[in-house]
């Protein structure tokens, strides 16, 4: 009677404590709003935000799906391009010397500043938003994957050399696996950055998505709606990173440490 719920209880406690913190935060917020009768245009109470969400759930869902779609498209492009680029520069030193400084230089340009340019190039459809999400996210993928590909222990390198494996075999059997923990750390950062990129894209030009919701609601001083969109974004951000974590566990069944060490680590956009 006691033993089985013990494990359940501990896992429940572990996941419920952060929720408890969030709940306390919301309660204090609600009380403060009522106590000091803060005007909703400055700071709506949590219940008002909830009310706003409940008033048109389908509409909010539609906007959320659009933004998530943009985020995932940008993220996917960043993963594919980022991993391939990292492999190229790690495998061919010349390419690294040729392209990497340029890449770092481009990255130091604030990507948000490029957003209007993308509108000129790609029009006002989905493409410029995906492009911005991609551009913001890709750097983290490249850096972490390259770091991971270089993290092969010296003994393992010697082993591969004495076995006379082809470069392709070494890459596929050794380097890519060595890179995986780093890669996933990069993917978590990239996912949050892709969301930032999607919102920026929608800020610059859009008729849809949560970024558009925030911008248009702000124009009408509809603060509860702004908060509703922000609340959705917070949940979406956490859910997307959780999804990467789940994939990480599935992709690395041999890697137990992910459960133990990274429990409290929150990787978010800087």
């Amino acid at each position: 009677m006691i033993e089985i719920p013990a494990a359940l209880w501990s896992s429940f406690r572990r996941s419920s404590i952060p929720l408890l913190g969030a709940l306390a935060f919301l309660v204090i917020w609600e009380i403060a709003c009522r106590l000091f009768s803060i005007r909703p245009i400055l700071l709506p109470s949590p219940l008002m935000v909830l009310h706003e969400l409940a008033a048109s759930p389908a509409w909010f869902a539609e906007q959320t799906i659009y933004t998530v779609g943009i985020t995932l498209a940008g993220f996917a492009a960043a993963v594919v391009f980022g991993v391939l680029f990292a492999i190229l520069i790690v495998e061919w030193k010349l390419l690294e010397r040729l392209l990497f400084p340029l890449f770092v230089g481009l990255n130091s340009v604030p990507k948000v500043a490029l957003a209007p340019l993308f509108i000129i190039w790609f029009g006002v459809g989905d493409t410029p938003k995906v492009a911005i999400a991609f551009l913001i996210a890709v750097f983290a993928v490249v850096i972490d994957t390259a770091l991971g590909l270089r993290s092969v222990p010296p003994d393992t390198i010697d082993l591969a050399r004495t076995l006379r494996g082809s470069r392709l075999k070494v890459l596929l059997r050794v380097k890519l696996f060595c890179a995986m923990p780093h890669l996933f750390a990069g993917l978590k950062v990239a996912m949050s950055l892709a969301l930032v990129g999607a919102i920026v894209g929608e800020f610059v030009s859009s008729q849809r998505g949560l970024g558009y919701v925030i911008l248009s609601a702000q124009g009408m001083f509809d603060t509860p709606r702004v908060f509703a969109a922000i609340a959705i974004l917070a949940v979406v951000g956490v859910a997307l990173i959780a999804a990467v974590t789940v994939i990480e566990r599935l992709a690395m069944p041999w890697h137990h440490s992910t459960e133990r060490h990274e429990h409290w680590r929150i990787t978010g956009p800087k």
Binding site: P153, D155, T156, D158, L159, A160, R161, T162, L163, R164, G165, S166, K169, R173, V174, F177, M180, M252, P253, W254, H255, H256
Partner: protein, 254 residues
């Protein structure tokens, strides 16, 4: 089979270079089990890496079957101090790695891999990940991996250095059986005098850096060895003699 003459290895640029090996000359016949003993930093690993073709000698010549070594030789098995197992593959995949890297069909070698694992008592762990194994079990897997392709030459760099005495004894016996079974040439680096005497047909003692050959001792014990041989008088004579050499070099004091 192996002929090293006046092998010198220096690391670094000329003005602040480190001489790791200073004129090593050794001939090793086919089928010999040679242990290299010597103080830390005397260049044992460096010599082994030169034999493996992953390091090149600065001067001197190093021949295998009369041909200079310019890359990992054919049919080479190698075992490392830190077993160098791949965490992301299970035990069987790890043992099959040489076949995979050699471009051979893994399925053809699976029976041999299973046989080797059974011989070292790991039958039940064929599909375990290395994380789930103890240090001794991991070294056994690494040993099986180095033996998969029936190497002619096996190079081992302190493979049992990190193990407790009991596990180490067992692995010495396992290794002895495995190498006896198919006559292969072995070069084995160790810090343990009794391990060296137990396993070897020949023990070579290196001086402190820069490494030179101080003694080359034939071990005249019967070829088939059991742990009990360590209680014999001859065994004690060999270990005492080698310990005496270390004392003379000022490496051990009472």
């Amino acid at each position: 089979m192996i002929r090293a003459s006046q092998v010198v290895k220096r690391f670094g640029s000329s003005d602040k270079s480190v001489t790791a090996l200073d004129g090593i000359s050794i001939d090793i016949e086919e089928g010999e089990f040679v242990s290299l003993l010597g103080p830390s930093g005397c260049g044992k690993s460096t010599f082994l890496r030169c034999l493996a073709g992953i390091e090149t000698a600065t001067t001197g010549s190093l021949l295998i079957d009369g041909k200079p070594i310019d890359g990992p030789p054919d049919r080479l098995g190698m075992a490392f101090q830190r077993d160098a197992l791949l965490d992301w593959f299970d035990v069987l995949e790890n043992v099959l790695l040489p076949a995979d890297f050699g471009g051979k069909r893994k399925r053809d070698y699976e029976p041999r891999a299973r046989e080797l694992l059974a011989m070292v008592g790991l039958k039940g762990f064929v599909n375990a990940y290395p994380r789930a194994l103890s240090g001794g079990m991991r070294q056994r897997v690494a040993m099986c991996r180095s033996l998969l392709l029936d190497p002619r030459l096996i190079l081992m760099d302190e493979p049992f250095g990190a193990l407790d005495a009991l596990t180490r004894d067992q692995l010495n016996v396992d290794l002895h059986h495995l190498t006896q079974q198919r006559r292969m040439t072995a070069v084995f680096v160790t810090h343990s005098i009794s391990e060296a005497v137990f396993l070897s047909t020949r023990v070579i003692v290196f001086s402190p850096r820069p490494g030179r050959v101080v003694a080359d001792i034939r071990i005249g014990l019967p070829r088939e060895r059991r742990l009990a041989v360590r209680e014999s008088k001859e065994f004690g004579d060999y270990t005492r003699h080698i310990r005496g050499l270390f004392e003379k070099m000022g490496l051990i004091h009472d």
